[in-house]
Amino acid sequence: MAGTWGRFNVVALVLGFAFLYLPIVLLIIFSFNESRLVTVWAGFSTRWYGEMLNNRGLLDAAWVTARVAFLSATVATVLGTMAAVALTRYVRFRGRLLFSGMVFAPLVMPEVITGLSLLLLFVAIGFDRGFATVTLAHITFSMCFVAVVVQSRLISFDESLEEAAMDLGATPAKAFFQVTLPVIMPAVIAGWMLAFTLSLDDLVIASFTSGPGATTLPMKIYSQVRLGVTPEINAVCTILIGIVAIGVIITSLVNKRREVLRRREEATP
């Protein structure tokens, strides 16, 4: 019943959330620790945030990550949206099942395999590893996530909208950009956010496909942690968590708004 909280429910909820968020909360708390020792609390301080800003290596890695994430998310969104449109629209083309299977296979493909196969490809064609290869690799694995998100929206898209646009004189391309795309935009944005976040925190694939001068933040953190965790890393991670959290909140707000609008549209046929 709504409003009546059984004791069992409360306990289950607290335990569940503790399991999920206790490590993260600890990390955030210790990022404000005065002490150099990660596990001993010595008072509140923002000192490590200052130190972090002076760490050239960390900042460079963060900048690389931001550029890779932005670029790969953008390209993956374009490609993923195109794939989703092709998969929903041209229902009867030959080999559609195979094509859709191939688009979605990377969703379940172990990252190690994706990373390794990409590495082999880059080596085979003599592509120097660096910023471009990481970006390409991230496009490859995140575009299928975008395709899934956009396709689920397109399935409920009333195709007569696009037909109406063409009927009124719009070329197929104009009909897509002026009618279809604005209507499915929330899903496209959600897909972009997802791709951006995936790229932001990828370690495995980046490790395989990156080269000198293109160390991403997760790679940097991972290598520093092997030499011992410093509060500085905690500070970096806290900021990352903040960025991801904001992304997730915006995405869910956009989705919620979209749902409300859609339900309102359907409620008054």
Partner: protein
Amino acid sequence: MKSLGSTRRTFAPWADPDAKPFIRFENVSKRFGDFAAVDNLSLDIYEREFFALLGASGCGKTTLLRMLGGFERPTSGRILLDGQNMLGIPPHRRPVNMMFQSYALFPHMTVEGNIAFGLKQEGMPKAEIAERVQRMLKLVKLESFAKRKPHQLSGGQRQRVALARSLAKRPKVLLLDEPLGALDKKLREETQFELVDLQYELGLTFMVVTHDQEEAMTMADRIAVMDKGQVEQVAPPQEIYEAPASRFVADFVGSINMFEGTLIREAGGPQLKDRSGLAFDIADSGDASPGETAWLAVRPEKVRISRERPEVQNAIDGEVWDIAYFGDMTVYNVRLDDGRVVKASTINSLRRLEDALTWHDRAWISFSADAGVVLTR
């Protein structure tokens, strides 16, 4: 029935052998795999005509409309519009506009934006677009709703926005796919007349798809009754109703009593002898020749019901089996002694009827020799 003005009454280009058809379907077929949605269909539609395609769902009427709109490509055959072959011309270059069954209003645009959409594609100057949009809004009486989004409108208002949007470009032909399907009964009846008036005022050719026979009868100049991808009959509403060409049409439009029998020629004129030995006088034997199996189709309102045997040849007695009271009229189902049921309807012109027929009364049903139509298919 339609408000037939004097100019309207004489509108019958299909009867004029010199008239040039405006839309012409020539042996058009459309197959989806093994299924023939439209099967070798030919049809002529004239300028300024209000033409209705009537049929059950799956009869191919929407496919036919979509082929004219350019959304489906005929498997074979030609479609001519104003003498021009439409084959291979994409929807955005056809001088026809369509009003979709779902209305297909663009949810992210205002009412104004929706109506202006087609005009913007043409590259019409801004001032002209604004003026045209105003005129369309006035036409459909939605001036005060210009800035609203589709989801802020009622069903009837959306229908009118869709209509205004499809009329804004002044198409040569307006295609309407179940235009009133989503409206409730009262609104539908009002809108029927509005559509007819609009079509007449604008002098456009309307081609409307509907499964609702009343809608087709009220609005159309001519109706094509479709079944299994083919046209069963094309005729004005009155002819469709009073002189159906086949049993399918007779049965699909309105309700009907059907007597199967053999045509015989007696001294007094042709008769239809049915399997239980009853012989009905018929005024016109139609296409049927003597000895042939034929069906006599009689509309319930042309069947009289009485307690006493009337002074006509075509009279059978039976038992009142069911009575359906509709207010304005009553339909009696009379069960004959061989188990067949005949429907007879009467107008309730009197508020109270002494000695009204009731369940299980014996009654006579009768009809005149010219009440029915003889059908051979």
